[in-house]
Symmetry: C2
Subunit: 343 residues, 2 copies
Amino acid sequence: MRPKATLKQIAKELNVSVSTVSKALSNSPEISEPTKIKVQEFAKLKNYKPNNIAVNLKSKRSKTIGVILPNILNPFFAKVFSGIEKAANERGYNVITCISNESLTKEIHAMDILSNGTIDGFILSISDETQKEHEFKHFKEAIADDLPIVMFDRTSEDVNCDKVIVDDFDSAVYAVNHLIKTGCKNIALLSNLDNTSVGKLRAEGYLQALKDNKIAINESLIMRTQSNEEFDEQFPSFFDIKGKKIDGIFAVEEHASVAAHKAVLKGGFRIPEDVQIIGFADGVWSRRLTPSLSTVSQHGPEIGEAAAELLINRLEDKTEDGPDYETRIIKTELRQRESTRKL
Amino acid sequence: MRPKATLKQIAKELNVSVSTVSKALSNSPEISEPTKIKVQEFAKLKNYKPNNIAVNLKSKRSKTIGVILPNILNPFFAKVFSGIEKAANERGYNVITCISNESLTKEIHAMDILSNGTIDGFILSISDETQKEHEFKHFKEAIADDLPIVMFDRTSEDVNCDKVIVDDFDSAVYAVNHLIKTGCKNIALLSNLDNTSVGKLRAEGYLQALKDNKIAINESLIMRTQSNEEFDEQFPSFFDIKGKKIDGIFAVEEHASVAAHKAVLKGGFRIPEDVQIIGFADGVWSRRLTPSLSTVSQHGPEIGEAAAELLINRLEDKTEDGPDYETRIIKTELRQRESTRKL
DNA sequence: TTATTTAACTCACACGTTTTCGTTTTAGTG
DNA sequence: CACTAAAACGAAAACGTGTGAGTTAAATAA
């Protein structure tokens, strides 16, 4: 391997000082045109690239943001991540990624590892376990150590920081309203996210829509679980279409929607004639089912972009961070496909 | 914010030298037990963490690996990524991620951005466009600059480096053999990846299996396209089950498998009685379809772990890298579900 | 001619660590 | 007590970069 070109090497070979090289490369007016050209051409020839680590050390910023995701296999998080990555790159930032796997310990560990100059700030969605345990100290410490955090999707009231969320409550109200308006009387709520902030909000939206339409709440139509596994376990005994006269289903996440879809068809019912389904979903698969699923789409990439923008703005805002934290809401969209009837 | 604790600060407050603090914290034998304890306790109190950037600058390694993925929304890559992240973390490495979006330009740009000390090496899967253009200069330059590369899945013969692949050819032979043994006479090949190395290998495996079983190759049963979009466009006119007497389908990727699944059912045929289907797949959805799809599973996480291990071993191998590059093959597994008949 | 400006460049330090080498202190020995 | 050796610590350089303060030499002004 060729030795990596450094300012020092170039300086020696051209018989000038290191500072001259540095200034010439940054087009400083203190350097004469001829030497500038000489240095710049030589640097290009040697394929010189400023050592990023040294630059970071001087500037005390790494231009890198740490992203902590609960689960990259969930297409929603993958979409958000792609948005973060895109927006960050456009503004000259790199992205370092850790996966908490829904574990509080891993979340803390990841933040700890990165909180030593490696990154300038965090973008994260709170892990399942963290929300269950109400343990937010690590977030507050990071912020106190001048490492700003932007939370998305799963956020916490208890932590003061920028946030990007979806209007979960309103979207749920809207979706359930649609079911009601198209004739559903007995709408089931399927939650496999009942431990998370977003799951709760969507469930509340369901309740609100019923209330708005003066429909009595029927607890036997409501299923709340905290994970896909728990959901799969309880679903068969819960899901009695005929007995419960279910004619509409609102699911807070794609896993539940698909399970319902499958069960409805297997039971010999027609979608959407007998049973309508709407679910929150971000995978590519809702539209591949037959009949395809109507979904509440969350615009994952936009969420990611907004989060990155928020964080970078804060990082580059020199006006001594007044903690005027912002919560940005990304509107959802009801994508009507074949599992719902038209109004 | 509290000022970040540094060696200098601690040294001043304890009236010792910077070197003493450094040595005390690293448990050097040159420091007496009492001062060690004094320093260590004070450091813990002040929540001291060695500035990673400074450490990197000294050690000339960042303990960070750059990962370049063609598309994080593809569940296969997401799985591989989770494996990389896990294995890297276990060995004390961070992961910086870029998404090439199947673009050569973005791939080059990403590598360029990171090749300045930010990372110690790359793990990547070659972008679609890069494979089409046969443009591998950027890989070779990185390797020449002492930034090792490990390629996975989509690799290139033209680049000398460690690789992790799946036995695409053998897996395809095996899968198609299974179809033949269970009675299929007219097996269609659906490729939506015909530009990539893996797509080609799987197609060749299909041909080989026919040859091994002395079945004549029928070009009208073979469909080759270079993207999902192109596939979707041509599929309807290609897929004539009755006319072509198709009784078996081998798909090189999940998208094609699902399209076939849908089309078969829509045509009024039964799976697997009339038509059997096997596809390469990594999504969670193959098993959710009704009937569920039999798939060739690629063990994405294992691929990622192997890649990380290979790279880190090379990074930490002090024995002046003899380029004894290794290609590790991760065995696939034929997951028999409902879309195939039992032997 | 001498003083003053200006252009062009060099010096020296800083960022926070680690590490080598040198210096001081303590303990041990004759 | 003097000398040696080990133990404990400090000074300084280095990693590669950026920057304000100096330095030189030439050009201009008085």
